[in-house]
């Protein structure tokens, strides 16, 4: 970001190392820890958000003036979020077939699959 880091990109190296550490933490949380499933999911989500932040601020020029002080990346991210919303909401809407699955006789599809993880 600043001019003097042109040849030794300190920030990139720190970001790279942090990313690796965070990823290893997530792997440990999923495979090595004895946390309850809900906590594992929360932990991975939190780590993912931190990692996304590292990507945006240490690699993606979020604060550079040449990207309009972050205007350009925010613009693209807005579209990304909209699309992610379409994918998630649209898939739920479509794959529910527009029916309710809680008729009592059989349990909800997604609940069943999350129970299997325990």
């Amino acid at each position: 970001m600043s001019k003097n880091t042109k040849h030794v990109p300190v920030q990139h190296i720190i970001g790279f190392l942090l990313s690796i550490v965070l990823t290893l933490l997530a792997v440990w949380a999923a495979l090595g820890s004895n946390l309850p499933v809900a906590w594992i999911i929360i932990a991975i989500m939190a780590l993912a958000i931190i990692q996304a932040g590292i990507q945006l601020f240490m690699f993606m020029h979020m604060t550079e003036s040449s990207s309009g002080g972050g205007h350009v990346p925010w613009n693209m991210m807005f579209h990304g979020f909209v699309l992610a919303a379409i994918i998630v909401a649209g898939s739920l809407f479509t794959m529910s077939f527009g029916f309710h699955h809680d008729h009592g006789s059989h349990t909800d599809h997604q609940e069943e699959s999350s129970h299997q993880h325990d």
Binding site: H79, I87, S91, F93, T94, M95, F97, G98
Partner: protein
């Protein structure tokens, strides 16, 4: 693994294919050695980062793929015209309709259009290359190796046979064991890297590298269509990447995302596939719209009617393209609410598309039309595409779709939009920009022969399919009922007409190379946009000096003011990127890894992936900043090109 499991055996047609592959490869190797052209090939083509050369390689590969997909199509048509001849058995037929669809969409339509974008977009906006020339080379080689990987499947390992949509559970490991489906997954994944990178590359190029003074709404319409297309690519292709990865993990490592057992959701594949797949059809149709707009404005000798409406309707189409995917599987059995929502959004797309049709008609209205070959393709596009579009609205009605679904009515519909839209545009664009690429026009007389053969063949082939579809003939069958015979025979005759048209087109390339008059000026058609301001052949740096742009149809006003892109007073050294062999090596290694993964040789695949990572590392420490072209050299090149 035995050798007879590795190679496909027992099919005379495939043995023929093997022999011809060996013959063609040895002929190429012999010719290159005999003419001592290996060094030339490596220096001038394989290591190039020049957007024009990469574009030409895209188009050549796409023409080869058009040939391959076309042969597949003709084989299917022969089988359907003579179903009792046992020309193809059911397995072979399944493989051929699968590869036909995949090759035509992924390895023909997209690369052809990307090739034209590669060559033309930087020229239209006054840029000297792409924003990331290295990445552009990586994109091309990833597409090329992806295409090769997919194409080799028919002689090694066996072709995929689950349709180009590769629906699960059929495409899963349980019902399609063996390498076939893996070829599909890895070929598309590899080519997808390139497409995604090209989308980013083109978007940055268009946003950041326009000539001084060129505002967004001054850009030529083809550049606009490219920008909108890259937007769709960037947002749609990651969905395909994820879907392919999930299915790969399912098939190779035994996960259960799309399986019937183990709580998988097979229809989730269809859902994800079409979330990419529907935007994908706009990825191949919007650039076609752009090409037709350029050609119609040039040969109607008028400014494009309703430029802003054209741009906004493209943006609207792009947005809507992400909201209609369920119309590809209305018959999944979703409830009335789900289907109605997507039915309405589907029909909405007809509105901006209709706006575009009327704008083209208004551009033509009261103009003096020049009947060149490129213009004839464009004029033929309008009514043909409308037929495809109107039947598309019919298919968009969910209730009626239960009748049309998976019938030849659908086949006729999407061939009407994809051939009349995309393929006509590829031919028209190639004819139109050919003098810019190769320094001479394609012969007009032969070009018109090829046009008429292809156009009439196209209608004879696909118009009957609407009716045979309404008569109940389903798609993807290799045997048919007697009452469908007459229309199928007519269809086959038409398909061969299109084949003749294609052969004449290719012959025209050879004929024009031999006999066409060489272009002396860069402006072959009295054009309106900036690409015609460059001399022919286009110097590798494109523009010696960049013109100041104010308004649309930049070259038109330059011609009025007697400006050129060679202003001797303003010459400065030009910074250009160096050629590099890294892209082709990197992607060859990745292709090796993909090939290993197809056969589930995990050790080899890991070695290939490590090799790719090493290549990326080498690239990261590559401090080559390119070189400068000196003023004297620019003067020399420009003077000889302009005959000064």
């Amino acid at each position: 693994m035995q050798l007879d499991e590795f190679f496909v055996t027992g099919e005379p047609l495939i043995y023929g294919g093997m022999v011809s592959i060996v013959l063609v490869t040895s002929a190429i190797i012999f010719l290159l050695t005999y003419l001592k052209r290996w060094g030339w090939l490596w220096r001038e083509w394989l290591t190039t980062v020049d957007h024009k050369k990469i574009g030409i390689m895209y188009i050549l590969s796409a023409l080869a793929m058009l040939f391959r997909g076309g042969v597949d199509a003709l084989m299917m048509r022969v089988q359907l015209a003579f179903p009792n001849m046992n020309f193809l058995n059911s397995q072979h037929y399944n493989e051929i309709f699968t590869t036909h669809g995949t090759v035509m969409i992924i390895f023909m339509a997209m690369p052809f259009l990307v090739g034209l974008m590669n060559i033309i977009v930087p020229l239209q906006i006054g840029a000297r290359d792409f924003a990331f020339p290295f990445v552009n080379a990586v994109s091309f080689w990833s597409f090329f190796f992806g295409a090769m990987l997919f194409n080799i499947s028919f002689v090694i390992g066996g072709s995929p046979d689950a349709g180009w949509t590769s629906y699960t559970p059929l495409a899963g490991a349980a019902l399609s064991p063996g390498p076939g489906q893996n070829f599909y997954l890895m070929g598309l994944q590899l080519a997808g890297i390139g497409t995604l990178a090209t989308g980013i590359n083109l978007m940055v190029t268009i946003l950041k590298m326009r000539a001084p003074g060129m505002k967004m709404f001054d850009m030529p319409i083809f550049t606009w269509s490219t920008l909108v297309t890259s937007f769709i690519i960037i947002f749609a292709f990651p969905i395909l990447t994820v879907a392919l990865a999930l299915l790969t993990i399912d098939r190779i490592f035994g996960s259960q995302f799309f399986t019937l057992t183990g709580e998988g959701m097979p229809m989730m594949w269809a859902n994800l596939f079409w979330m990419w797949g529907h935007p994908e059809v706009y990825i191949v149709i919007l650039p076609a719209f752009g090409i037709f707009s350029e050609i119609i404005a040039t040969f109607a000798r008028k400014q494009l009617f309703g430029y802003k409406a054209m741009v906004w309707s493209m943006i609207l189409i792009a947005g809507l393209s992400f909201l209609v995917w369920v119309h590809h599987f209305f018959t999944m059995g979703a409830g009335a609410l789900v289907n109605s929502v997507f039915s309405v959004s589907t029909m909405l797309i007809a509105v901006p598309t209709g706006v575009k049709i009327f704008n083209w008609l208004a551009t033509l209205y009261k103009s003096r039309i020049q009947m060149t070959t490129a213009m004839m393709w464009s004029l033929a596009f309008i009514p043909s595409f409308v037929i495809g579009g109107v039947t598309g609205v019919m298919l968009g009605m969910a209730a009626a779709d239960y009748q049309f679904h998976n019938s030849y009515f659908l086949i006729a519909h999407f061939h009407y939009v994809l051939i009349a839209g995309t393929v006509f545009a590829c031919f028209a664009g190639l004819v139109y920009w050919y003098p810019k690429m190769f320094g001479h026009k394609l012969n007009e007389r032969i070009g018109k022969h090829s046009f008429w053969w292809f156009l009439i063949g196209f209608h004879v082939c696909f118009f009957p399919q609407y009716f045979v579809g309404l008569d109940g003939m389903p798609r993807r069958v290799f045997a048919i009922l007697p009452e469908w015979m007459p229309l199928n025979v007519i269809s086959t005759v038409g398909a061969f007409g299109m084949g003749v048209g294609f052969v004449i087109f290719v012959y025209n390339i050879y004929y024009s190379y031999r006999y066409s008059k060489r272009e002396e000026k860069g402006d072959a058609w009295d054009g309106r946009t900036l690409e015609w301001a460059t001399p022919t052949p286009v110097p590798f740096y494109n523009f010696a000096t960049l013109p100041e742009i104010n308004g649309r149809d930049a070259f038109l006003s330059m011609k009025k003011n007697n400006e050129t892109t060679f202003d001797e007073e303003r010459l400065e050294p030009i910074h250009m990127p160096s050629n590099t062999g890294q892209p082709i090596i990197m992607m060859a290694i990745l292709a090796f890894a993909s090939f290993a993964l197809v056969f589930e040789w995990i050790g080899l695949a890991v070695i290939g992936l490590i090799g790719t990572l090493i290549m990326m590392g080498i690239r990261s420490f590559d401090y080559d900043d390119g070189y400068h072209v000196e003023v004297d050299e620019i003067k020399k090149i420009e003077r000889s090109a302009r005959g000064l």
